[in-house]
Symmetry: none
Subunit: 204 residues, 4 copies
DNA sequence: CATGAATGAGAGTTCATTCAT
DNA sequence: GATGAATGAACTCTCATTCAT
């Protein structure tokens, strides 16, 4: 250990520095407005330097997405210990929504933007997406088995829950909730999530 | 009437010509690939001419959005005659989904893209969105009154239903359903819509 | 006539202006060192302007080549009136060599450089080359018929004469005659041309 | 001998390693596509290392040229034993043409490209060129003395023969023989070489 | 001796937009 | 009303080269 290790750490730090700067800028101004030059300026390095750490702009933004997924997945883990499936689903939804509220630009990148996905030609390149989806899928499976919800199959259930959550966030982030007074947004969204959890349960 | 009127009519026709060309190109090739130049070429006018009818690219695309909303609203009208609210909601959902499948690029522009909305500073600039939302809102109101669904209030119900539909489409259009085998998408989405209509109803 | 005509003339003049500037720069510094920006600077227009007249850098340089061929062919014409084939060939050679000496950079572009020919995928795109070659070909044909030279066929004769002339110029232009004292170059080259004309003739 | 010697040997070996890699790449992909980085990658050293052995890219390519000349000169040697000058000249021409056909990229570097010669400021820097030329020069001298050819002087004869051979190859390599059907190229070029040898001889 | 890291300089190209005519 | 001509401001990316370590 020693030199090699330090070098590697430094390299990783530099990657992170770029990633962070790119992330910030991109959160501030969006993908299109975030040029390699802007990023370079922000970290006070030359544009060429960025190409030492990332093949091109897409790879850079794909990396931001990956990091974001890591955070999301990490947050998801906190929910694993909840045994009861419906409670787990409620908790998962909350974690998901919190993440979206806390990092709207990242959410945008992960689930809305076109660009970083152009890179993902084969489904395998998006296994972070898979992992995240599996969290939900398993909960639905368990819930079906325990006869707590009545979806025809787990995929249908997971898709229904997810698309609802995504729809709420996506409409919010992309400014399509103008027909609802802004001060109601947060409450309404939160209530909608709760609603959904109630609705899917089998009434006894 | 006379000269002034004719001039205005001609002006409107020209606007429409540009709009149609822009719309076609945009639907064919996407926003990025639709430059002012391409549009001008298509209608065989000069790029400068376009600026006589639209302030800038954003306004132009906002106008395309408006036209698309007109179509959507027109489609919505076919549903008005259905008296029973739940059936009407089911029909409305179908119309909405069909529109999205038929014109994904337009749907994208209306409900996902950032660009055309940057233009909408005051809520009033988006009254087409309001109108569309009202269709749903009224249905939910009626359904609540008739005790067919049990949402706390109409806005909550409408938001819940809409965000679910939007979520399905948005995930689909922007390629985020990789974790589900592609051949299942259509069926699953359709089933999810049906599911939702069932779930929200008060079980007797 | 009038406006349209004037506009066209102005357009042609602008094209020529660019062509001339590009030509000059390229003569001074070579193809690689002649960037679109340098050309733009020289004529005090913006780089983008150049793209209004030429699709890309290659087309621009192809156009320079075309113009150069026009000059060469025009010079060739002065020789047509000479009836006797051998004299005509001698005159043609002289014209060719003079052109090469007068415009070495253009000669380079026409007959040595790689870049402008990448553009010429189909033989038809280089019909100026064909025309020039035909001048020589016809002379050789006549000479063979008149039993003044004894080449097996006209193509062989034309190729032999041309490649010799080209070889002289090419070695000279690209600085490969270092093994011969520089002050001898001109005389030697000129004598070599004369030599050739003598050598190919059938001795009586 | 000892340490110093070993060091020198190692240094020379490293130079050769770089040279070989550069040469291979250059032959495969051309000058433009052969960057310092590519070469470094190929030998699995860092780009900076190359600068320890060569001042800059030009010097490196000059060195490749030198090595190529060594091969050409070596091939030339096989001809030395032929006593009769005309036969020797014919053999030399063949060797020259064969080399050009076998290593067009190297031929290009040696006799056409501009880059490596920018480096040659003083004639002495190109003594490989001199040596090669001398082979031909001597043959012509002998031929003149033996009254087999009638050039005014040896330089004129050598230049005439060489420029013809070079012209053939140069036009071929740089794609300027479009006016002759491609399938005729090889035969015609070969016949042109034969022709020349015949033409220069004094008819008895 | 070797190199990892960094960069300055520059390449070609595109596009929304303006304005004199 | 329409436009031809022009442009400023970007853009991504590449490469030979340097230098502290």
């Amino acid at each position: 250990m020693g030199i090699t290790e330090r070098k590697e750490r430094e390299k990783a730090e530099m990657r992170d520095l770029i990633l962070q700067a790119a992330s910030d800028l991109f959160v501030e101004r969006g993908y299109e407005q975030t040029s390699i030059r802007t990023i370079a300026d922000k970290i006070e390095y030359s544009p060429a330097t960025i190409y030492l750490y990332f093949k091109d702009k897409q790879e850079l933004f794909h990396a931001i997405m990956d990091k974001a997924f890591e955070v999301l997945l990490h947050n998801f883990k906190s929910v694993e210990k909840i045994a009861e499936p419906i409670s787990r689903m409620r908790a998962l939804s909350e974690v998901y929504m919190k993440f979206a509220y806390a990092h709207p630009a990242l959410y945008d990148l992960m689930f809305i933007m076109t660009k970083p996905m152009d890179h993902v030609e084969h489904a395998e390149d998006w296994d972070c997406g898979f992992q995240a989806f599996n969290f939900l899928l398993e909960i639905v499976e368990e819930s079906i088995e325990a006869k707590l919800v009545n979806f025809k199959n787990a995929h249908l259930g997971a898709l229904t829950v997810w698309s609802h959550l995504h729809g709420l966030i996506a409409l919010h982030i992309r400014g399509r909730l103008l027909m609802i007074p802004e001060e109601m947004h947060e409450v309404l969204i939160s209530e909608s999530v709760d609603s959904m959890i109630e609705l899917i349960q089998i009434k006894k």
